[in-house]
């Protein structure tokens, strides 16, 4: 049964009830006719009239007033049972009665409809309040749309509500989701903001047709939704702007670090090469091989810096994909140490990697990079002749490797931050490097599904990392056995 139908019925029943009430009052007064004065009857009649108008509104009120006028005349004014009036006072009474009845009905009725309007307004205000509370603080367009659709559905009692959001994050949302209606919607409200239309709300409700106040309310809902969506969009734009600002800050940090770091070896190379070229340095001078060695070393250093920058940008952009193969950790460490021979000759290096260690699925070149950076970091900070030790052991289904040195400890609050790009504890001009080495290590280890952290040990600093032993959930294949000797 639709709302419209039930209103109709209650409307006509109100009229009937009003007339019935009047009939009842008339019957009571009629039974007391001999005891009551005509004027008193008129006054008593005003009571049901007031009540009727108060309960059922202006229409039944006025109708009752007219009916009462007739019954009063018919039953209580002589001659009885006619509409004729003989006494002039009775005419006056009748006219006054009619005027008073209509005035009362009108007054009470107006008050009633004012009250009804106030209630309706209050309900609308409550609904709006609920909507804006529900939407407050939401940052996600889809959630906003869902809540908006739900509220529109609740308020309108529609069959189906659909929300279409257009633009960059376009999506459509329907309530209830399974309802697929083929006919066009009965009412479409645009969701509009200053810069244009964000989308629209479509409402299917065949009957009763939307009243103008419902339309107005839905339009207000749409406006609220538009504001919430716009706010979410702005918040997103702001966080994007923050990210951009952060990356901008990073870029300028890179630029300043890079220009400083690259210029140092370049200056050495330039100075050495130009003095070799000029005739200042004799062919047999002892300075000659030294200058040449400086050029060679600094070129290598420059190459390493550029390599670090490349690695970092690769990690940043997420294109660092390990090319995994089954490897032996000690073989990787061996080739790193062989290559760093001249770098590490000021320190004692101890390697403890038992042969029983299983093969690990890692990118050989990237793991070389990790060990190279960790060792060169240790070499840089730890005092000469001190010990740099490397060991590895199995821990559950990962391998745990430790590179430790007897260098200075790192304050507890910086243990995490030393893996940040360009983070240094010492002043940049005291130790060379891009400040990228450790963050590259972290990037590589994490790309392998492992974890890298630093900890202070009693006599220095230790870098720890873990690497998974399984590759896509499997261990290396058992080797075909081969024991016969030649």
């Amino acid at each position: 049964m639709t709302m419209r139908g039930s209103t109709l019925i209650s409307r006509s029943s109100q009229y009937l009830l009003a007339i019935g009430f009047i009939a009842l009052v008339t019957a009571i007064l009629f039974s007391l006719r001999e005891a009551l004065d005509t004027t008193l009857v008129a006054l008593l009649y005003l009571i049901p009239l007031g009540l009727i108008t108060a309960y059922w509104g202006l229409g039944p009120g006025i109708t009752s007033a007219l009916v009462t006028f007739l019954t009063f005349n018919y039953f209580f004014i002589k001659p009885y049972y006619t509409f004729a009036v003989h006494r002039s006072t009775d005419i006056v009474i009748l006219i006054i009665f009619l005027i008073v009845a209509i005035v009362i009905s009108q007054l009470v009725g107006r008050m009633q409809s004012g009250l009804a309007a106030a209630t309706a307004h209050e309900r609308e205000a409550t609904q709006l309040y609920e909507l804006s509370t529900a939407l407050a603080g939401l940052q996600d367009g889809l959630t906003i749309a869902k809540i908006l659709a739900k509220q529109v559905q609740d308020v309108s009692q529609g069959e189906t509500v659909e929300l279409n959001i257009t633009g960059t994050q376009s999506f459509a949302f329907r309530l209830p989701e399974s309802n697929q209606l083929t006919r066009p919607p009965e009412w479409v409200v645009p969701i509009q903001v200053a810069r244009g239309i964000l989308g629209e709300i479509r409402l299917w409700r065949a009957a009763p047709a939307l009243t103008s106040s419902e339309k107005r309310l839905l339009q207000t809902f749409a406006n609220q939704g538009a504001l919430a969506l716009e706010r979410a969009r702005l918040a997103q734009a702001e966080s994007r702007a923050r990210v951009l600002e952060e990356s901008d800050r990073l870029k300028s940090a890179i630029l300043s670090s890079v220009s400083h770091e690259l210029r140092t070896p370049l200056s050495t190379i330039k100075a050495a090469a130009s003095s070799l070229r000029s005739n200042d340095v004799n062919w047999d001078s002892a300075a000659r091989p030294e200058l040449i060695a400086a050029i060679d070393d600094e070129a290598d250093h420059l190459n390493m810096l550029v390599g670090n920058l490349l690695d970092m940008s690769r990690i940043e952009s997420g294109v660092l994909k390990p090319k995994r193969e089954w490897n032996i950790l000690s073989e990787i460490v061996g080739s790193v140490l062989a290559r760093m021979k001249h770098l590490a000759e000021e320190h004692r290096i101890e390697v403890d990697m038992p042969e029983s260690l299983p093969l690990i699925p890692v990118d050989y070149v990237q793991m070389e990079q990790v060990f190279t950076n960790l060792v060169s970091n240790s070499v840089k900070y730890a005092p000469e002749k001190s010990m740099i030790s490397m060991r590895a052991f199995v821990e559950g289904d990962s391998i745990h490797a430790v590179v430790s040195n007897q260098g200075p400890q790192v304050p507890q609050e910086h243990l995490e931050r030393i893996f940040d790009k360009f983070f240094r504890i010492t002043a940049a001009d005291r130790v060379t490097g891009t400040g990228l080495g450790l963050s590259i290590c972290k990037g590589i280890i994490e790309a392998h599904g492992g974890r890298l952290w630093a900890e202070n040990i009693p006599d220095g600093l230790a870098f720890n990392f873990t690497l998974p032993l399984l590759w896509e959930g499997v261990s290396p294949q058992k080797l075909p056995m081969d024991t016969e000797t030649e």
Binding site: N303, W326, G334, S335, D363, V365, T485
Partner: protein, 231 residues
């Protein structure tokens, strides 16, 4: 100087061309240069050089493609130049028949060492391959299947010997994982790098003084292995 070995350098960077030409000419080689792949292929066909030095990053065509096209008709040793972090290209070119590689920037000593190895191999291809290879105290007799360290004979398993013999026969050259696995094991095992790692460790334990710092059985990171023999 008609007998001077002829080297063709295919690289689009003029500075590199100039540096290589200066040094190799100084060392008594005859040097021709090309800046583009097509030009290089034409010069290679016209001059039949003894060694080709090929940069993988050419403007007109892929270096690996140049390598493949050269290998269609010549066995001339090819040394690849590449930048760091292009292991994939390096390995692809080596698998397509290139003999060796150098990563830019490289020292000139490295280049000369590679050139010497390549020249020896191009002579070997003409049929005078030595059957006994010496590396420090090691002696590998490929004809009699004997491996000695000093006077002491070293016992190897069949696979270990096969692996060592293959590396030694190609001493000085870089051999990719896939190449070694295909030739020592089976083409079907070409992806089982773990076999190679384990056997290489065993070989190093038996042959090297310090297995963690090998002198003869060298790892080429991300590419393969190389056996260094006495010149």
């Amino acid at each position: 100087m008609n007998n001077a070995p002829h080297i063709l350098v295919i690289d689009d960077e003029l500075q590199i061309q100039r540096a290589i030409r200066t040094i190799l000419t100084e060392k008594g080689f005859k040097v021709t240069t090309a800046s583009r792949g097509e030009e290089g292929l034409t010069l290679a066909a016209m001059n039949e050089p003894d060694i080709i030095i090929l940069d993988l990053g050419l403007p007109d065509m892929d270096g690996v493609e140049v390598c493949t096209r050269l290998r269609e008709w010549t066995l001339c040793p090819i040394i690849i130049l590449s930048v760091r972090d292009s292991e994939r290209d390096k390995v692809a070119a080596l698998d397509k028949g290139a003999d060796d590689y150098l990563t830019k920037p490289f020292g000139i000593e490295e280049l000369l060492a590679r050139v010497r190895v390549a020249l020896r191999h191009s002579t070997n291809r003409q049929g005078t391959q030595s059957k006994v290879i010496h590396a420090g105290l090691l002696m590998i007799d490929l004809a009699w299947h004997i491996v000695k360290c000093g006077d002491e004979e070293i016992k190897l398993t069949a696979t270990e010997y096969k692996l060592l013999a293959y590396l030694a026969a190609n001493h000085g050259r870089v051999l990719t994982h896939q190449n070694i696995l295909t030739n020592v094991w089976d083409p079907a095992d070409a992806n089982h790098t773990e076999y190679l790692r384990v056997y290489m460790r065993q070989l190093r334990k038996k042959l090297e003084v310090n297995p963690e710092r090998p002198q003869f059985l060298l790892t080429e990171p991300g590419v393969g292995y190389r056996f260094i023999a006495d010149e």
